[in-house]
Symmetry: C2
Subunit: 229 residues, 2 copies
């Protein structure tokens, strides 16, 4: 019966326009994750509505979307604020991150080949950025890399949860002064992990991943407590 136009259905998202609330949320998301809106900043409905030329209602819907992604917190009768991460948050993020990425590693053998290719691509991007000395780009590629690792599970819900975590992680990265010091030690370990994945050594990959995330969490937590004791 059907099935002839299934290939077109994949491009459905390119047809549907986004609502104003979604577009506003997207703009704010960028500003927050890139550190242009400092954590703790209060997002005034009136001021933001004027700046973005949208009504308060639309803005409030956008806030709900951002709160879903944990990038802002909504305090009743007080307004919405750019999320301020504390060390507990970072620890918790890494707990969930371990669960999601482990799910990806474990699905390695049943993962489609293009998913593993995505891991390779992200790693190559990180190396290229390192060669240029662009450590912020290394951070971006690093997050893409780990998103791809979780993506090995082939699960839309895991992908989305991981995407939210990644956005939140950027908040944590922004709290660390030196992107170089933050990412340099882990770049090599990304390569190690990728090697284990390529050769299908699931158990070893899982062990390495666990240690990797433990160490990364410790580095960020330490940096956070140092800069803001």
């Amino acid at each position: 019966m059907a099935g002839v136009f299934d290939a077109l259905a994949a491009d459905r998202s390119r047809i549907e326009r986004a609502s104003a609330a979604q577009r506003v949320a997207e703009v704010l998301r960028e500003h927050i994750t890139e550190g242009r809106l400092a954590p703790g900043t209060r997002l005034s409905e009136e001021a933001l509505g004027e700046a973005l030329a949208v009504s308060r209602n639309t803005l409030r819907e956008a806030f709900r979307l951002l709160a879903d992604q944990r990038l802002v917190v909504h305090e009743l009768n007080r307004g919405v604020f750019v999320k301020v991460l504390n060390p507990q948050d970072v620890a918790d993020i890494y707990t969930l991150r371990l669960a999601l990425e482990t799910a990806g590693v474990r699905a390695l053998h049943s993962a489609a080949t293009e998913r593993l290719a995505a891991v390779r691509t992200a790693l190559a991007r990180a190396e290229a950025a390192e060669a240029l000395g662009d450590w912020v780009a290394v951070g971006t590629a690093d997050l893409h890399y780990h998103q791809a690792v979780a993506g090995l599970a082939g699960s839309p819900r895991i992908d989305e949860a991981m995407a939210h975590l990644v956005a939140e992680l950027r908040l944590a990265f922004a709290a660390v002064p030196s992107a170089h010091a933050l990412h340099e030690p882990f770049l090599r370990r990304n390569q190690t992990l990728a090697g284990l994945l390529e050769s299908g050594e699931i158990d070893d990959a899982e062990v390495e991943l666990t240690r990797y995330l433990d160490d990364a969490r410790a580095v960020i937590v330490r940096a956070m407590t140092e800069t803001r004791p």
Copy 2:
């Protein structure tokens, strides 16, 4: 310095009133997860706003909250609809569920004793409901039980992700005609899993959990394809 009143902070949620949007979302959530609002039902802004005596603005904010929990889908210019789960969704839910509950099992040794007690309590509730022949209550207790298993990880983010999954799972359960046939085979296996957890056999618990979820997914998917082919 601080810390004296930390115990009070846990009850903070009892003080803060909820916004109208949150209360509306809560009411709708109950109706959806209990099957009183059939999947696919269109939620008209005008009709619902009148029924609940809230403005369209407030209702739209509530819809955003429900969409966050995946209980409704929002189609631009068409409205919001109660989520219709397909077998792919169910399979994906179980993929994420496995990741979250596995994280709980793995954290068993470092879990606080009261978390394990929560697992015991939920299991006892399920057995009590079985004794009464109330299979819907068994289903509720079963979900609480698995929420508690994931809760062993002690991670707020895992707890929240699991809570969302549980709400979505209720949609799947509602699609299965016989609650008895659905839950009866798994009640005993919940006891098996609890026994392994009590005795600290993490690896065996993980294997049992994996098989459990595989089987449960298969049962639901089969029931879904039978009732709606």
